[in-house]
């Protein structure tokens, strides 16, 4: 069965970059351009992992995370933040909201793929899926 990843970023460039990176793998990648669209996609798709930006219009990454964690059926979905923001206050806020990893741009593609793979495998073990 294909693993499902939801990429939420207002930059089309990042969404295209992630699509190129994960194309060789057995992964279904969906995209959303802001937190609100991302939340709707998460409800429909129930992804195995979300890669989330922080700074977005309409609904930012922190607000989206708060909504995600308040929904019983969505709260266990693992999230990786992928952002240019390295402000410690932001990092500590999203850590409290259960983010599994925090990747600051620029990033090594292979390192991100390894993190994604590890977190999806761990989540599968935790949920027995």
């Amino acid at each position: 069965m294909k693993q499902k990843i939801l990429s939420i970023d207002d930059s089309k460039t990042i969404r295209l970059l992630l699509a190129r990176m994960f194309r060789p793998f057995q992964i279904e990648l969906r995209e959303a351009g802001n937190g609100e669209e991302g939340l709707a996609q998460a409800k429909e798709l129930r992804p195995d992992l979300i890669i989330l930006d922080y700074n977005m219009p309409v609904m930012d990454g922190v607000t989206m995370l708060q909504h995600l964690r308040s929904e019983p059926e969505l709260r266990s979905i693992p999230v990786i933040m992928l952002t240019a923001e390295s402000n410690p206050k932001v990092i500590s806020t999203v850590a409290r909201l259960g983010v599994r990893d925090y990747v600051v741009k620029p990033f090594q593609e292979q390192a991100l793929i390894a993190k994604v793979s590890k977190i999806i495998a761990l989540h599968s073990q935790e949920t027995g899926s």
Binding site: S11, T13, L16, R20, E85, S86, N87, P106
Partner: protein, 161 residues
């Protein structure tokens, strides 16, 4: 108040940040350009604002349209997969500036200047109407990568108090 970092310190930060982003994300090496103040043809300009409790500033990337196409191809695949509109090319330049600004902001944080980045703002001309940005007060660096050139500047001001 004096600026929290000297011009030389900002140039050193830019000289570490720009090559790292190109090497990591674009898979290309860049060279500092010996040619100063030549205009960038058909420029695309991305500006990322940075704000903190002690000051504010902006980081500006100016690159030619041909350079932006080349970056898109290296970043997204041989044909620049998915980059079909002019706004897509602007988005590539904005994201590239965002990445360099992220690298700069991390280094500023490590020096005790913790700030927040704002989304990139794109333009084809500088706020003064010229095709290239006005001379920044602190740091402007010039680069070449293959057959295109670009500039990256950092301008940080302390809060007036």
């Amino acid at each position: 108040m004096t600026n929290p970092l000297s011009q030389q310190e900002l140039i050193e930060i830019a000289n570490r940040s720009v090559p790292e982003v190109w090497r990591t994300q674009i898979k290309k090496e860049v060279q500092p350009s010996p040619i100063l103040n030549l205009p960038i043809p058909s420029p695309r300009i991305a500006t990322v604002a940075w704000t903190s409790s002690s000051g504010s500033g902006e980081m500006v990337l100016t690159i030619s349209s041909a350079g932006a196409h080349s970056v898109a191809q290296n970043l997204l695949g041989t044909s620049g997969n998915g980059v079909t509109e002019e706004t897509d090319l602007d988005d590539v330049v904005g994201e590239l500036c965002n990445m360099v600004a992220g690298r700069v902001s991390t280094e500023l944080r490590d020096r005790g200047l913790t700030g927040t980045l704002h989304p990139p703002v794109l333009s084809r001309t500088s706020p003064t109407g010229s095709a290239n940005p006005p001379t920044p007060t602190l740091c402007r660096t010039h680069w070449t990568c293959g057959d295109y050139s670009f500039t990256f500047s950092i301008d940080i001001h302390p809060n007036a108090s």
